[in-house]
């Protein structure tokens, strides 16, 4: 494993955060959300910020952008220095100019961060509009160019698509394109690659590196993926509970973590080696899909545009108590398959059997009794929670539907929240008051509250730090043992796949290209794409848990 070792001591610093304190607005007595956070980034440097979910990473980045939610959080102390100016003291106009010219940010949740009613191409183009004066043709060319660079397929179509017509990873890449197009001096990336498959991720990381090379861009990179950290970081800061507990050059940190929390974090990183196979299942499939096909119609006012074939002849089945992983290229149709199985969209063709009942063509009404058998954790947890509802209310919605008693359901909800590592009083809070990872855990809790036979988890742990992730995966495992849940696990994280899947399906361009046991797929990939995928897995030569290179390598 080769770490970045360049020294930046000589480089001018771009961002200097000193003793930044952020508190709940109007409540100075409460413990601060950020407690004297200090951090420095120099030109060309990549600083990775890792740490517990909910520890304040996003809040730190938002503070720099001057975009803390007004009235909820406010910076009460410290200094954010950029080019010798304290950003905390800038007026809105000056701050806007800063944002426009110096800093770009990639937000954590691309679904909510993109304007749902504007074409994504225009949203990228708007950045150019604001800061440059380009003729329309040239502007479009540049937008298409950056879209190509972030490896979006079919850029012409995506250019005129709306966010809801894109896959999670595609949206994320739109966000990235938006942040990169102006080649900023400081780039803040808040978990920018959670929805990307590793090959694409690699491209993106390469792109950022190139940018740094060319313009000396300083990068603040927030991530949970230790592999990525190992690959790109110059310096790593570890956060916990609103404080930076440790920071060091990347190699130091990975080899010689000082703080317990850091050690614990590194030890939680799952291994890429598949876990030993579990005993063969008895009994038939709980969920089986055959010949599933989904074509998204494109509707213009007059012209009939070419439709998108998102899933093509997808077949698989999951027996009780087993986990099937779907990995694959971003935009390859994974979420589409999941949504078809849930009958949230109608499959164009194919059969879906749940508990031996064909549900692909049931009416919405006839479907209702089957809902309790099959649950989903959505890829975008924030939007899947009603913003006006407390978490508690969202959590008990399902159980109440299947006739649970309200009190019991509430109690169970609180328990589940504790199980996923959230305070049980979180029931009284609203979705927007959580961090990305916390919301994802709420979504998981909601799905398992139904005790379904089949759980479809679409990128369900992507926003969790590895220690919480381990905790959630344990929880799933336990439930599976106890209740025999079959899990359809969609992920980009090969490490996670290796740890929990019995079988893995690899998808590309809407097709299943490989389908075998986890061990076979990961250790002995057959298809070229699968091989590329495994090649691209970040940090695959490092044994995080033992703070050293992998022995085999």
């Amino acid at each position: 494993m080769k770490f970045k070792t360049r020294s930046f001591d000589a480089a001018p610093s771009v961002l200097e955060i000193e003793d930044l304190t952020v508190q709940l607005a109007g409540n100075r007595t409460a413990a601060p959300v950020l407690d004297k956070v200090s951090l420095k980034i120099r030109q060309g440097e990549t600083v990775c910020l890792v740490g517990e979910s909910g520890s304040g990473k996003s809040v730190t980045s938002l503070s720099v952008m001057g975009l803390l939610p007004k009235g909820a959080l406010e910076a009460t102390g410290g200094r954010i220095g950029l080019e010798g100016r304290n950003l905390l003291e800038l007026g809105p106009q000056a701050m806007r100019e800063m944002r426009a010219q110096k800093i770009s940010m990639i937000f954590q949740e691309p679904m909510t961060a993109l304007n749902p009613v504007m074409r994504v191409g225009d949203q990228i183009g708007e950045v150019l509009d604001t800061h440059t004066r380009l003729p329309a043709r040239e502007k479009r060319a540049r937008v298409l160019d950056i879209m190509n660079q972030v490896h979006l397929p079919d850029v012409e179509r995506i250019h005129r698509s709306y966010p809801h017509q894109l896959s999670g990873g595609q949206r994320q890449r739109i966000m990235i394109a938006m942040a990169l197009i102006l080649e900023p001096q400081l780039l803040i990336a808040d978990e920018p690659t959670t929805a990307l498959d590793v090959t694409t991720q690699k491209q993106i990381l390469g792109l950022i590196a190139e940018l740094q090379e060319k313009h000396g861009t300083a990068v603040l990179f927030i991530t949970h993926d230790m592999g990525v950290v190992a690959e790109i970081a110059d310096t790593v800061h570890v956060m916990k509970l609103g404080r930076i507990v440790e920071h060091a050059p990347v190699e130091d940190l990975l080899r010689r973590p000082r703080e317990d929390y850091t050690k614990q974090l590194l030890q939680s990183v799952p291994s890429l080696t598949p876990r030993p196979a579990r005993p063969e299942p008895q009994g038939g499939a709980v969920l089986s899909v055959s010949g599933l096909q989904k074509t998204y119609g494109a509707h213009g006012v007059f012209a009939r545009r070419e439709a998108t074939r998102a899933a093509n002849d997808v077949s698989f089945s999951i027996p009780r108590g087993r986990t099937l992983g779907i990995v694959g290229e971003s935009g390859s149709g994974k979420s589409t398959v999941a949504r078809c199985i849930m009958r949230l969209i109608d499959p164009t063709e194919g059969d879906i059997r749940v508990a031996d009942r064909e549900i692909a063509r049931l009416s919405r009404h006839a479907l209702r009794p089957y809902r309790k058998h099959i649950q989903i954790v959505f890829q975008d947890p924030f939007r899947s929670l009603n913003p006006r509802w407390t978490i508690g209310r969202s959590l008990i919605e399902g159980p109440l539907n299947i006739g649970a008693d309200r009190k019991a359901a509430l109690k169970r909800a609180a328990e589940l929240l504790t199980l996923v590592g959230l305070p049980d009083d979180a029931v009284n809070r609203y979705p927007h008051q959580f961090s990305g990872g916390q919301r994802q855990r709420v979504a998981i809790a909601r799905a398992i509250a139904m005790e379904p036979d089949v759980l479809v988890a679409d990128e369900a742990v992507s926003a969790l730090d590895v220690s919480v992730q381990a905790q959630v995966l344990d929880l799933l495992d336990e439930l599976q043992k106890k209740l025999g849940i079959a899990i359809l696990f969609i992920t980009h994280d090969l490490r996670v796949a290796a740890q929990i899947c019995d079988e893995v399906v690899v998808m590309q361009h809407g097709h299943v290209v490989e389908h075998d046991t986890a061990a076979n797929v990961l250790a002995n990939p057959q298809h070229a794409y699968t091989r590329a995928l495994i090649e691209a897995a970040p940090g695959r030569l490092w044994d995080f848990a033992n703070f050293r290179e992998l022995k085999s390598a």
Binding site: M65, L67, P69, P92, R96, E97, M98, R99, A100, Q101, S104, M105, F107, E109, T112, A113, L114, N115, P116, V117, M118, E126, V127, D129, T130, H131, Y162, H164, M175, M178, H299, G300, V301, F302, F382, H432
Partner: protein
Amino acid sequence: MLGYIIRRILAVIPVMTIVAIFVFLLLRLTPGDPAAIIAGDMATPAQLERIRTSLGLSDPLHVQFVTWVGLLLKGELGTSLISNTPVTQMIGQRIWPTFNIAVLTIVLSVLIAVPMGVLAAWRHRTWVDYAVMAFSVLGFSIPVFVIGYLFIQAFAIELRWFPVQGYAAPSEGFGKFLARAILPCLTLATIYVALIARMTRASMLEVLGEDYIRTARAKGVKETVVLFRHALRNAAVPIMTIIGTGFALLIGGVVVTESVFNIPGIGRLTVDAILARDYPVIQGMILLTSGLYVFINLVIDLSYTFFDPRIRY
């Protein structure tokens, strides 16, 4: 989409049929006798009966209905019972003032109200917001005629900028049209500005806390762009609805304003016809407005898909 549009345009037929039957029955239910209006105060019952017969009002209901539908199928709306003028001609004379004033009013209202509402939402709970609210409440709760009289008093009588009353078609010169249309438009606009501004504010508030607004700010775009391009567009659907139904109402004719400013529009025509039980005119008017509403509503519905591409029909 094209199919949808065609289906919606064809929907004019059932809508008009329902309206036609409904209005026909409704009219025959209402007491009133056009013959009495024609004949005047001194007519004897026998004379009334003869006039009624000559107007065809003594025929059984279904015969009257069939006669009317027969006319309709020939593309005619009949002749006014009272003035003996073809209904199409009467409506033709009266629709344009109403239409022109309605268009001008809506344009004016939107231009004033939307920025007002946006501003109020942006400065939520500040004096700006409260000022907009106070204005809106006045707009709701002052009778239209008061507003009209006040405008006349101020701009026509004191300042002598505009004539007191009357209407001039744009074909007589746009300046002339504007001089006469501006006060009625402002009068009508007061309510619409109030309504649209509050609706804008309400739906903007729903949107301003969203993450994509934050994204837009992060891009460093100007605050006006954030508000008008990003937020307003997301908030546009209910605002469009209010504008659309408001426009429909205006096209239906607004009696009080037409009286106060002496505009020969279809609002007065309709009310006069109703009060005189001039059945063919009422029926014609309502058929016409229902057709117009179908059209306006179609345009509103299509505008939804423009503002919010997630909406599909």
